[in-house]
């Protein structure tokens, strides 16, 4: 079993399904000969040919709209949007069609497609290449929004996304595309699409996050452990539909919760989680549920981007306040 990075695991999952599913095709800008600007689709065109791995003209509205049309014919397009910052031209197609086609036709037609997009900051990229706007997608009924945080979960969640009969937006935390690697077997095993993953168990504080921020969250959990604080670390993984039960169960136990995400806090996914937790765990809460997020401003250019994103220090600072609350 070889060690793979997340981007390699994604490539492996795409290759696995291209081989398994004759109706699957990979499409997008520069996904073919070039193998994707992050190499996520590297060699797929060589292996599966230009019919299955297709370079498109530069038009995101059309990429997603055409994928929808393909899906109505029983194809399973996996379309790449080069960066999440360029998904906005496709919002109309995602909101008005991908998410609605099954409902609109009472099941006569459906939309089994996947939109892949690298997202998040920290790679010192130019403007618009560092966004985390998963909240915009999570608010759209009928879509699934999935975010892996490790190579193995990337492989298994992408398989699940591709096999799911409904439209899935698969957001890839590009900051950790190559940061971590782990053994990934090409066993074709998929994970369920709407469950959180509990990465650490603990009784004192629940740390909730997803995507690349899982790295900082785990580091924070480590140093809290050294202070004798037991953290339960939960990777939300599917921000919509959300697995509320796992989150509620954990916070009912710990009584303290901290939500960490890169996106701006205002109307971010963290707000939904905090709102849900206080509704269901109020009597168990020993402290307010807090959020450590990107600031409510434009993600700065590379010189200051790390200042914008939650750091281990910021997480620990707020964690201390949560732990000290009422003491």
């Amino acid at each position: 079993m070889t060690n793979l990075t997340m981007v390699e695991a994604i490539n492996l999952a795409l290759a696995h399904e291209l081989a398994a599913d004759p109706n699957l095709l990979v499409m997008g800008e520069d996904v073919g000969v070039n193998g994707g600007v992050f190499r996520a689709t590297v060699d797929l065109r060589k292996t599966f040919g230009p019919r299955r791995v297709v370079d498109t003209p530069l038009a995101e509205t059309m990429i997603v709209g055409a994928a929808i049309g393909m899906a109505t014919q029983g194809l399973h397009p996996v379309a790449e949007i080069q960066f999440m910052g360029f998904i906005y031209p496709a919002m109309e197609q995602l909101i008005c069609h991908a998410s609605r086609l099954r409902n609109r036709t009472r099941g006569r037609l459906s939309c089994p497609l996947v939109i892949r997009a690298p997202f998040g900051g920290g790679i010192h990229a130019p403007e618009h290449h560092s966004e985390s706007t998963e909240a915009l997608l999570a608010h759209i009924p009928g879509l699934r929004v999935v975010i892996p945080s490790s190579p193995l979960r990337a492989y298994r969640l992408l398989l699940a996304a591709i096999r799911d009969p409904d439209p899935v937006v698969f957001l890839e935390p590009k900051r950790i595309y190559r940061a971590v690697s782990q053994p990934v077997a090409d066993d074709g095993e998929a994970l369920p699409l709407d469950t959180c993953f509990t990465l650490r168990e603990g009784d004192d504080l629940t740390l909730i996050s997803w995507g690349a921020m899982i790295q900082e969250t785990l580091k924070a959990a480590d140093s809290l452990k050294q202070q004798g604080v037991g953290c339960e670390v939960i990777d939300v993984a599917t921000v919509s539909p959300l697995d509320r039960q796992t989150l509620i169960a954990s916070v009912s136990k710990t009584g303290r919760a901290l939500i960490i995400h890169e996106a701006p806090g205002h109307c971010g996914v963290g707000a939904e989680i905090a709102a849900t937790l206080q509704e269901h765990c109020l009597l168990d809460l020993k402290a307010p549920i807090r959020r450590v997020t990107g600031f409510d401003t434009i993600m700065p250019y590379l010189r200051q981007e790390m200042l914008y994103m939650p750091s281990v220090e910021r997480i620990l600072g707020v964690a201390a306040e949560v732990l000290d609350f009422g003491r």
Binding site: R51, G65, I68, P77, P165, D166, P241
Partner: protein
Amino acid sequence: MKKIYEFRIESRRFINSAGKVIATLPEGYDAGLLRQAYEHMVLIRAFDQKAIALQRTGKIGTYPSILGHEAISIAAGMALRKDDVFVPYYRDLGTQYLRGVRLVEQLLYWGGDERGSCFAAQKEDLPICVPIATQFCHAAGVASAIRFRQQPRAVLVSGGDGSTSKGDFLESLNLAGAWQLPLVFLIANNQWAISTPRYLQCHAETLAQKAIGAGIAGVQVDGNDFVAVHDSLTQALEKARTGQGPTLVEAITYRLGDHTTADDASRYRSQDELKKAWDEEPVKRLRTCLAHQNAWSEAEEKALLTRCKTQVEQVVSDYLNTPPAAPTAMFDYLYARLPADLQPQYDHLKAIRPEAGHD
């Protein structure tokens, strides 16, 4: 040093507004075919008028009349083969009817019931599309799937003159050219986008010439001339089926009614203009043409109108007798399987249904 590239757009018409044949008809346009077209056109006009009446009496919601689009709408339906795919916009009553979409489904749709897009007798065609121009991208995708499978089928997608100003129309046109898709774009140029006249929409002499920028064929036809529309679409669709690439067909007509029942066109256009447009209208034109050939009589007209009336009445009573959908239907088709996270909302809706049902 100069190099010159040249392009041409043809505008076609066979039957003039007086119903006179002004160019030799292509083969096959005998009285039989024209009578068939005429009968379809009269039926959908009858249905259209009834639908407007139903809206006025609150039996359906906002409705967009196809008055003036009958030739385009029926020609498209007749030019398509059963195994082609049609991707409509919201003013395609006639085409959808000939594709097997039942008229009662039209009333359900405009009456605010999602079951109107179930299409019991039409599995592949897309449902009515409301967000302008978004349907062109879907059509490009359907055509890509057909090319992917190398099937001898074509896709027809339609939109209005206004829709040609929106980016996704042009992105789809461009993809159709780049990928040589089996796709025909039909633009029903009825001179108005709600209150926006054609000339404010675009400075080009024709909308057909938008094809040039995508490197595909474009043609303009008289949209009130059934033969011109049908012949051009038949050729374009055959080209598409046989791998000879996409075509843009601009059909010139006039929106004789209000934009929808929620609109009042008298606010923004003159009675004069409307009167002139009526002289061009497609139904009378085809009837006169048939009459000139002694292929249509007063008696036949009478009989047809009665047949249409009964058929439409039947549709209306079927519509009015359709039992309402279950409230929980709003969850039943959101995903293939209801996610656990939504179960409580589903249950809550079921619980409150009785008292909240009054609407």
